[in-house]
Subunit: 421 residues, 2 copies
């Protein structure tokens, strides 16, 4: 029953319960997912691991505080499942429901005008679980930075080395905070997950909280690694998606506030948005939260993040930060800088403060993470979609064709439904 | 400024903020507490580590669920600080307040008739933190077992091997579940933390979720280790405090319920007692929660556990389990079996279902953990005391002299105050 390397197991066949991962006391050896030797982040193990990160590595709490959560209101609409759309580069249509399996969806939430109209849990996730947010973590780090900018506590024109002297000898030294926030730094650094020699793997080795292998002489942790990154060309010329920018931004935030990113995220957002669950962040070997990708959180809590962005900084009648924060993010960045990076599924877009801005007619913008994670905010349709997934391959370019048109179809439907009550 | 080996730093001098542990971005190398080489569980690092276990090792969530917490009512009594008592083996008196520093207290909560009369956070702990419960975890595992016994789902007269066939060749095979619950198994196993060759350290190596050292050929995880424990003499003859009993009990619970102990603790207790915070448990390399000592939890949530025991299974007007569960625990076990173990500070006591029963005039019983952890329940005084600490040495025999008489003094005071309103 060998699978061809190019044909991963289907959504149904790779379901983690179906696969039997980590079931039994003890689980049979061939059904265990462990650190460090079982490659827990590879498909199909990934379908279990995305809900169990904390059981595999050390993590820092993102506390929701101690008060009562503020429940999200419901107005469920069962007709969403039957909505159809045409995937990118396709001629036949697909239903919303079919797209769930096509995308190896673990959880999906749709909010319209602040109410939950659709909610589904699949795979490893349920409503009490937390799912890896992957690079959506970046958007929260970027949001925290924009908040500090709006408060005048962080000057986005400052040189990074003026805030983090340890980065003096690195590529980041003469970059501005804004260039880091918008990822227009020019770094000699490859983040091609498909290339086993890419710098991202050296970075991962430095960041791994487990003991370093015998003879390891590389950097230990994010902060040491960032100091080793070299400059490629002039900063500010084009967008280049590199996670190290976000960890540099996290370091900047910690230098400015004297708090780690997990604590900031708790104090500024999680404790104030009516969250139902604590979230958490993975940490490196010296306790630094992974600002570029370490968050795990509940589906509805990520929905609250989306609402907060849709509602320009307010939720449950409470303002968490100035509306200018969202306005600046939503406006996007330089489209020419973005175009040079060649994102075929996001043509005409830009990347601003670690958020993906589509510049489409509805003004949508999104947090996005590998393997299919998204918080998609459509201000025109007053819609938020959160989708958590464990798609076999990392690249969203494979996932967007059955996702972005689906989100637009839901937006169109919700706007139409609104007009014909 | 070298300290003599026998004179640990004082409470004030070992305060983790004062010591500077893990402060700064990054913390200076000599102020880091990391896995695996810095011996994070040794004093004075312990004073930081007890509040940060999850940042050092993988953990499983003990979910509080998603509802609103049920706040505990307050009736604070400032005069408790000045209460005096005479420490065991002492002639001079000490105040309650002075006992806090003497015990390296991180958090203490006193409940009287269901209301908080005293609450203090010190050291690494605050009200949003979780502190290592250490062996108090055992009492929760024992409580879960008693609940299943009361429900008829677990026969405490059954042989262990009938429930866990994997233990057939081990010391536990012909022990009854009750002997495991009361720790009257006879095991060739040493748990003297002061002895570097004690079996507890082999056990710890097996349980460590980090990768095994090169050449390691020992057992991996709790379940494999338990199978290697040999019998010493006949079971049921005397009490012998050995953590492996609790992990065997945890395995039994999982075989019976098909759920791990963290999930059981969440479903049976944490989701139903109005908890404010999730708790968590450390796990071994195959994801097994440490039933014998892995819990970390918030101070007030441990107070809720105490209330639940004081109120014989009910809290906030909800019954979580039959009152017979607490009655059976509180009644204690064979005092002769206990006496042979030679606990000088607990003479006349017994150990029942992983709870310490004092058999004192007030009928007090307690969960206890090394380095000074306790949930102390005094049914006569309608009092619960939770004390979380990071005392330099593990043994409670060093901590009891300034603890047990202090608890009695508070009980006496509360009963007297009640009579003279």
């Amino acid at each position: 029953m060998a699978q061809a390397a190019t044909t991963p197991l289907s959504d149904a066949l790779s379901d983690p319960v179906q696969m039997g991962w980590m079931q039994g006391f003890p689980p049979p050896p061939d059904k265990r997912i462990t650190q460090p030797d079982s490659n827990f982040f590879s498909f199909p193990k990934l379908r279990w691991s995305v809900c169990h990160i904390r059981e595999l590595v050390p993590t820092a709490q993102v506390s929701r505080g101690l008060g009562a959560p503020t429940p999200l209101p419901y107005a469920l609409d069962e007709s969403i499942d039957a909505l159809t759309f045409t995937p990118l580069n396709s001629t036949s249509t697909m239903t919303w429901q079919d797209a769930l399996a096509a995308n190896y969806t673990d959880g999906v939430l749709i909010l319209h005008q602040g109410r939950i109209v659709y909610e589904k849990y699949r795979g490893c996730l349920d409503e009490t679980g937390q799912h890896a947010a992957m690079s959506m973590t970046k958007s929260l780090t970027g949001l925290l930075a924009e908040i500090l900018v709006a408060e005048g506590r962080l000057n986005d024109n400052a040189r990074v080395s003026s805030l983090v002297p340890e980065l003096q000898g690195s590529a980041f030294a003469d970059a501005t905070v804004r260039q880091v926030m918008d990822m227009t730094t020019s770094l000699a650094y490859s983040e091609n997950y498909a290339d086993p020699n890419a710098d991202i793997w050296t970075y991962s080795a430095a960041a791994n909280p487990l003991p370093k292998p015998a003879g390891y002489t590389g950097p230990n942790g994010y902060f040491e690694y960032l100091q080793t990154v070299h400059k490629a060309d002039q900063h500010g010329q084009q967008f280049g998606y590199k996670t190290v920018n976000t960890d540099t931004l996290g370091w900047i935030l910690s230098k400015v506030t004297e708090k780690d990113v997990a604590t900031l995220l708790s104090e500024r957002i999680w404790q104030r948005m009516g969250a139902e669950q604590d979230a958490y962040m993975t940490v490196d070997g010296i306790g630094t939260p992974f600002a570029g990708g370490g968050l795990s959180a509940g589906l509805r809590d990520l929905g609250r993040i989306g609402l907060l962005m849709l509602q320009e900084g307010s939720i449950n009648g409470t303002r968490l930060f100035p509306d200018t924060v969202v306005e600046r993010i939503r406006a996007g960045a330089n489209k020419q800088h973005f175009a040079q990076a060649g994102y075929k599924t996001l043509e005409g877009g830009s990347y601003r403060s670690m958020w993906w801005v589509l510049h489409n007619p509805n003004g949508a913008f999104a947090a996005r993470g590998v393997h299919g994670q998204t918080i998609y905010i459509d201000p025109t349709a007053e819609m938020v979609i959160v989708r958590l997934a464990s798609y076999p391959s990392a690249k969203n370019a494979s996932i967007d064709p059955t996702s972005l048109p689906a989100y637009q179809a839901v937006a169109d439907y919700l706007m139409k439904a609104e007009q014909t009550p």
